[in-house]
């Protein structure tokens, strides 16, 4: 196989695997965090502002791992340096 088709194939498959694996773990983590926060709100309704603020900040931090995977997948598809190199040569 030519190197151009190998690089194209590997990039696309890896991008799919990256976003698939990279979204599973943050999804589980965010679900657990949300469930705990709902439990805490049910037990202490007075603390809703504090719990919500902490929940949002925490969710954003958990979600950033998924965003990293997303950025890597986008780089693989749209801005792949190896692909650009092969195209140039």
């Amino acid at each position: 196989m030519e190197s151009i088709s190998i690089i194209g194939m590997v990039s696309i498959i890896t991008a799919g695997v990256t976003i698939a694996v990279g979204s599973i773990a943050p999804a589980i983590g965010e679900g657990k965090a949300l469930a705990q926060a709902l439990l805490a709100i049910a037990q202490q309704p007075d603390e809703i502002p504090t719990i919500t603020r902490t929940l949002f900040v925490g969710l954003a931090m958990v979600e950033s791992t998924a965003i990293y995977c997303f950025v890597v997948a986008l780089i693989l598809i749209f801005a792949n340096p190896f692909w650009n190199y092969v195209i140039q040569v």
Binding site: F56, V57, M61, S64, I67, Y68, F70, V71, L74
Partner: protein, 237 residues
């Protein structure tokens, strides 16, 4: 659909290039500064304040309250920096709903610049409130063995700040662009409304994280004081 809005060039002269990131971040700065200038021309005290002053005052009070609740201390030191960060990122994220306008925070250059300004602000605030020696002792706090990990942690959280904001905003506009090709009328509108929510939350998260980093670098002194007073007078809490 552009993944890197730095490559959209409007005007070029020699090596000076005016790309979309620069244009729209300057536009946001002009909007913010002119609104503040327009409102702060005729500030008054007392009961009869104008409507625009009430609007801006309520905004400032909300930011002030959030800072107080997060840092657990009554101080106005963080308000200018954190408030400016929050307002700039908020307006930058929200202008993406105007057709043809790219949000400047969808470029890694803007978000990296914001994250670096937080990275620089942490030692400035920390040294300002605790002194040089006390601040740098913080890096070797549990043992000197932790020094490289503390430095790596400081660098990686700066990178995380930049990539988090960039990824969220860029993915929002990219998803709208992709959906526009698949199902043109209804779904892009829904995703754009969702993007507004994401934009507000990410602006909030960026500001709160910057505040937490700055406050944790400048606070340890106070907690040591609190510990010592606790030993002297346990009922005082």
């Amino acid at each position: 659909m552009e993944i890197n809005i730095d490559q959209i060039i409007y005007w070029e002269w020699g090596f000076i290039k005016l790309n979309a990131t620069l244009v729209y971040s300057w536009a946001v700065m002009v909007v913010l500064v002119s609104i503040s200038w327009f409102v702060s021309r005729d500030l008054t005290e007392g009961t009869g304040i104008s409507r625009k002053q009430a609007l801006i005052e309520s905004l400032v009070v909300v930011i002030q309250k959030q800072i107080e609740e997060t840092t657990q201390e009554k101080t106005d030191r963080y308000l200018p920096f954190i408030g400016t960060l929050f307002l700039f990122i908020l307006v930058s994220n929200l202008i993406s709903v105007i057709p043809g306008v790219y949000p400047p925070t969808a470029s890694l250059s803007t978000t990296a610049a914001l994250a670096i300004s937080v990275f620089v602000a942490v030692p400035i605030f920390g040294i300002g409130s605790r002194g040089v020696k006390s601040y740098f002792e913080n890096y070797v706090k549990p043992t000197p063995l932790m020094l490289p990990f503390n430095i790596i942690g400081e660098l990686s959280r700066t990178l995380a700040l930049a990539v988090r904001l960039f990824g969220n905003i860029m993915s929002g506009s990219l998803i709208v662009a992709i959906l526009l090709g698949l199902s043109p009328l209804f779904f892009p509108v829904v995703m754009q409304a969702f993007g507004l929510l994401i934009g507000v939350i990410q602006a909030y998260v960026f500001a709160i994280l910057a505040l937490v980093y700055i406050a944790s670098a400048s606070r340890i002194h106070n907690s040591e004081e609190a510990d010592s007073t606790e030993i002297i007078n346990p009922q005082n809490r």
